[in-house]
Each structure stands twice: as C-alpha cells, then as structure tokens.
Symmetry: C2
Subunit: 431 residues, 2 copies
C-alpha cells in the first residue's frame, strides 16, 4: 500500500489514495487550488511554480493560481490522470523532491485548520436528478399514495430538472429560513410566511470536465470522461413551499434558496476500487443508456443533526450511494441526448439517496413520513422538520483495506427567518 | 421629437429613442459593446476611449471593451441612465461632437449588416416563467381538460422553473432537431427517436442588473431597478419529449436543447412611454407581490414561419406583451422572496405570451390545438409542428407617435436530426 511522508491516520479522509481537489484561501492571500493530504493542504500553484508539475500537460497555464478549478476541469482525463500520478509520486514516502526540501514544504503546505475553503468551481449550470428508486417511491407514496408512487416514466428515464446555480454555497455557510407561500389541505387559500417544513436532501454531486458542443450528445461510453470528481450535496428543501408551487413545472423556490456542497472534489480515479454493479434495471434501458461497465460506487453516507447549543450530534441517516438506480454515466448521457451542451464546472447531483430501510432514508420528509413519525435525537428532543439553530452535517467515505477515501463533510446551520417587515421594506440590495 | 444625425426611417427599429445595447464583432476584431442606431452600430468602446462617456460613471472601466455586458449590467440604474442620456445627446442631430468629427465617426460606426451579433451577456442562471393566463389555460385544457385547466396555485404565484443557461444562443443560430423519448397514449412503452412535435414559444426575456445577496429578497418596489433591459426569446420545445418526461419535476430535456434570443437588449427606460396597466389580478396578490405602479408594457409581437427554399414568410401569431397576467417586477420579487440571489447577466423569460384570440397564441401547441387544427401557410402548405428547414422568426416593437422602439428579431432554422448511429457512436466531443 502507498504511504505519504505526510502522516495520515487510518481514519483520515485524505490519505495519498484520495488527493481531492479544492480551492482554498490562506490567511491574507488570494484563493488558489490545492489537494488535501492528511491534516494538510498542498498548494498546487506552488508546485506548478516550482516546476514540479512539468510534463503533466497542466503546467504553466495559471490554472492552479486561480479562484476556481474550471480551467483544470476543462483539460480532460489524460491530463487529470497525469497530474494525479505526479502528485501521488511527489507525496510518496520514498520521493525526496518535496519531502526533503524544507523551504518548499514550508511554502507549499498549510494546515487544513488554518485555511478557508471556497467553492471549487464557478458553476455555470446545476442539474438535479431523481435517481434513487427508494426515494422516488417514498415521495410518490407520501404525495400521491401507494398506487401511483412511481410515475410510469421513472424506469425509462433518469428524471431530472434544472436547479439554481447562483445559490450553491460551500460547507459551513449559514442558511436563512426562507419565506414563501404554503397551503394546507384544510384551507382554501395559501398563506405567506416563513417555511415550517424545512428539510435537507442527502445527495452526491459531480463536476463536469470538458463537456460537449451544442447539438452533439455525449455517448454513454464517453460519459465518465466528462466527470472530473464528486462532492457531497445537501439540497435544502422547503417542503410546504414545494407542495404548493410544484405543479405543473416542478420545484422552484422550494429549492433555490440554498444548496450546500462539500469543498473537496474527490477524483473519479480515486473511486475506482469502489466501483460495483448497480441495481438490476428492468425494463432494459434504451441503447443510449446502456453502460458496458459497472456504474455504481460504494460510498457510505451518514447524516447528523446537532441542535443549537449542544455538542452531541445524532446520526439520523446511514445509507450508501450504491443504491442509486441510474448511474452517473447514464445521467450524463441522458442529459445531453437532446444535444444540450455541458461546460467545464457544471454540476449535476444525484437527487436524494435513500435505501430500503428507515435509517437509510435521505430526507426528513421520508424519515418522519411527512411529519407523522418524529425522529428521536440523542438529547431527548424530537424532530419532524429542521428547526432554527439546527446544524445538519453529511459525511461520506469509501472504506478500503487499511485506508478510506473520504469526502470530508458538508454542514449548514439554519438561521431564523427575517421578520415580514424586514423582508418587505428593509431588504438592502446592491442596487 | 428627438432626431439623430444618423438617418433613421420611420419604420426603423432603432431610432434615437431606443438605443438598445448589444455585443458585436466587426470583421477580424474582438467583440465589444455597441448601441444600434438606424442601420448602424455605434462602438461604445471607441466612445469611451475618446473620453465621450466621461462623467457618466461608466468611463475607463473597460466595460465596453468586453465580450459581454455583465459588468455594465452590474453598475445599476443611475449609471445606465447617465450613459443613455449621454448617448442620446451625442447622437442628437444638433450635437456636433461626434457628428462633425469624421475620423471618429469612421472609427465608431459600423454598418449593422457588416457585423456579427453575439450573446449580450454571460448568462449565469436562466429562469422561465409561465405568466400568461391565456397560455396556461390553453396548455392546461389541452393536457388535463377544461375543468382542470388552471392549477389552483396559478393566480397566487408567478409559476416558474429553472431553465438551461448553457444552450441559450443568439438569433440566427441553427437548431438541431433533438432526439429523445416519447410515448403515445395508444402504446404501453416509449420509443427513442427524433422529436416529431417540435415547437416554438414566443416570449420576452429580461436581463438582471446588480442583483441581491443570498438571503436578502428584492422588495417589489425595487425590482425594476434590477432590470437592465428586454429581449425577444424563442424557447424551443419538444412537446412529445415534454409530455413523457415532465412529471413530477417539470420540463427538462424538452427545453434544454436550445433557447434563442434577439441580440439587442432594449433598455427598460426606452419602454417607459409604453408602460400601462396589466390585467386585473383577482385574488389580490400577497403584499410582497403588490406593485404600486403599472407593470405591463405594450409591445406588439409577431411570429413568422418560412419554409425551406421559400422566400415568403407567413405570419402565424400576432399578439401583445401586455396580456401578461404577472408583471416583470412581480416575477423578480417572487423569484427572490426565498432569498435566492440574482447576479448581473442572469436572464428571466416571461413564458409563452398568448392572447384570447386564435391568432394571438404564442406556440404551435396552442395554434394547432396539439396538432388537431393545422395552420395554413401562404405557400399553400400546412403545418401542425415545425418541420426540418423551417425558419421561425419573432419580431417585436412598441409603436410610438412617428417612431417605434423595436426589438429587431430572433430567428432560427431547424436542421434535421442526426441519425441514431451518429448519435450513439460518432458523437465527437472535446474530451
């Protein structure tokens, strides 16, 4: 097994087998690209400047001395692989170049605890899928009853919709409870108020690499060449706003107030040892959705809730990305089959990841069955929806033999809504 | 009435009262910002370089010497007004500065026919609304029957959904007929083929200016301060793909293969003389949607279809933007009420604009009542959907006393789909 001269404990999310990419900002310095190793981040702009990336095809392009990974994402798989191979070599316990160069090490490494993590990319378009059969069945049962749970199209197409890119925020950003219209079944008219059914959605997202020209679909066997890497996603949702607004054009305001993502993008290459067969697909997909290799990944996913002013987190979900019915490649191929163009830095997300057991459900909506079965927290409190001050944390990792490929975490804390007067009169804008 | 020393005929779309902004590319030169006047475009980067924009607040910022208007859009209403006032002064028949400076004129003016028009902005997010009551009623009747035509939420909320920004293209871009899944009512299973129900949607779009911070809604009385200007939009739609995919998360692939826009952004200021009261809203909107001034604009809109290899266009739609139930300001206020952030260059569109008469319907779906009532073209041909080689052209203008504020046009011609083999195996990508 490979080891780095940077010590990484066995439970570290960031051993030399991982090397996720992110954009970080050291104190009083400009943002730049880095890779995480143990408790440290390696500054890739320093590596490039020192000539240590020469020959990879990524050198001397100012792509690491940048506030987003978009230009790196645009370079494509052969160069990503060359950079990754080089970094694994440079960080290897037996490679002296960086290990024994104290002044370079001093410049190149920062403690993770000392830097600010930003969004990894300028996200042009964000698409959210609906690829978990268990989730779609749960939601369908809750909203339309058991007999109409899964729409007839669901087993034929990876259902998805366009999301809001501007409100994607990095882990740690506080989330303001949104206002909106909601209507209960017992009344004729809606009311305007803060949402009272605030929810999370446990998802996995992926960033698009080179992309395709408008009018030219990405064939499924090339689809993974366009997947730079994966992150954890919490697609915050206001279920009361959603229920009232979503017909006939789908979720809109219920989702666009915030989507939180983990800052470290785990390369697809790091996940190869955890590739496996997904669920059997019946009916057989159309030819443009037939993938020749296994398309699922075994990623263990946990969700924790921590009430305000408490230290203890309660694990409320424990599931796995390998439950997903539609694979990443199938979702990319489907998205582009009309000729829709992908651009470097676009983000897709899987939709809520749920498994067959109750603890495996990836949203409050499903966990509490729309508020009818409260969750018990370790503190003794109960929850049916997320309350003000609650922190929601998603963690994920692949468990290898003696190491793990971790995603870090995505967390967010709910701030109370403004008052209605503040919303209507005091909204200060840049205009 | 104001006149320019650049002669503009009475039927010109671009008199001195208009002065729309766009990004143009002269032969063998870099893209830059301009304003249209008569048959000419005035290069704003040349105006700025010559010092003629000094004192407006937009000078010496390299915002006109740029390939998008985003940085100009970000400056906000007071600076937009100052620039517009200055340009009207500089172009006035009585102002000698530009009129009598032959060498500057030679540098600053290009014939519209000689330049390439590009997208006016880098569009971060694109949102499509559904704000015409006639359109929503027509579509609802066609898909769900007369008794369930309008959803209960429709008169309470400006329904909208997130669209695809990457596939927005400027007028003139050819559109490839998309592949997709579709299912007829008479069969159990869908088929995979090129769309056979290709449609247009006549819409008006607007570009967002300064925008708001995440978590801080834009109050409705400030909403128009964030509206830079308007364009014509054709939101191409594949109705067969849409019918099969849209439940429960809304239109996705049916819309993301292309959206065409006119290249000249007509400033909101130019439309002030054509502001008027919109339809009476019953029930009264919630407070956050109550607009104190008139929110509708009288913009005459026409759609023409020209079959391949024919010269003659047939006008198939003749309607008006003032039919819209929800105003621009209401749509902006609603979009941000959750705290969703707008960024300079974001685009909203109104949704299909239809009026009560048959000729006023803004899509083939409505004009032919889902293919049951063919349209007769001047050539004697009939149409129920758009065919390969057809060119679709939308034109719009406000008719003033002795002048008009025109939008120019947005056109697009349909290319035949690739073969299935080309789609699945020969898709060449940048990867």
């Amino acid at each position: 097994m490979k080891y780095s001269f940077i010590e990484t404990k066995q439970d570290s999310h960031f051993p030399i087998q991982n090397l996720p990419y992110g954009i970080f900002q050291p104190m009083n310095k400009e943002p730049r690209a880095g890779t995480a190793i143990g408790d440290y981040v390696l500054d890739l702009s320093v590596m490039d400047e020192a000539g240590l990336l020469n020959g990879t095809g990524a050198e001397n392009k100012n792509i690491f001395n940048d506030s987003s990974l978009n230009n790196f994402m645009a370079l494509g798989r052969p160069i990503w692989t060359a950079v990754r191979t080089r970094l694994q070599h440079l960080l290897d316990v037996n490679t002296p170049d960086l290990r024994d160069n104290e002044s370079l090490r001093a410049k190149a490494f920062h403690r993770l605890a000392d830097v600010n993590m930003l969004l990894p990319a300028k996200i042009g378009d964000y698409t959210d899928f609906y690829a978990s059969k268990e989730h779609a069945t749960n939601v369908g049962t809750i909203f339309r009853g058991k007999d109409h749970a899964l729409m007839p199209n669901w087993t034929y197409i990876p259902v998805g919709y366009h999301g809001r890119a501007s409100s994607i925020v990095p882990s740690g950003t506080k989330i303001r409870r949104p206002f909106g219209q909601r209507k209960s079944k017992s009344t004729d008219q809606p009311v305007f108020s803060p949402s009272v059914q605030l929810d999370f959605e446990l998802e996995i997202g992926w960033f698009i690499g080179p992309g395709n020209d408008l009018g030219k679909p990405i064939p499924i066997d090339q689809a993974e060449d366009h997947v730079f890497g994966l992150v954890l996603v919490n697609d915050w949702s206001a279920r009361d706003i959603q229920a009232w607004e979503y017909q006939p054009l789908g979720p809109f305001l219920a989702k666009n107030f915030a989507t939180s993502i983990s800052p470290w993008v785990v390369p697809l290459e790091a996940l190869e040892p955890f590739r496996e067969a997904g669920p059997i697909q019946d009916p057989a997909p159309f030819s443009y959705l037939q993938q020749t290799k296994n398309g699922a990944f075994n990623i263990e996913l946990d969700v924790y809730l921590r009430p305000e002013n408490q230290k203890e987190e309660t694990r409320i979900t424990q599931t796995n990305f390998n439950y997903m019915y539609w694979s990443i490649a199938q979702q990319v191929a489907h998205h582009t089959i009309t000729g829709c163009n992908m651009r470097p830095g676009d983000m897709h997300a899987s939709g809520t990841i749920s498994g067959p057991k109750r603890i495996e459900r990836g949203s409050m909506l499903e966990l509490t069955w729309r508020g009818t079965e409260p969750i018990q927290l370790n503190s003794g409190e109960k929850r049916i929806w997320i309350e003000d001050g609650d922190e929601l944390i998603i963690r994920g990792s692949c468990r290898g033999d003696g190491y793990q490929i971790g995603f870090g975490e995505v967390s967010g804390t709910i701030l109370p809504s403004f008052s209605e007067i503040e919303i209507l009169q005091k909204g200060k804008n840049k205009a």
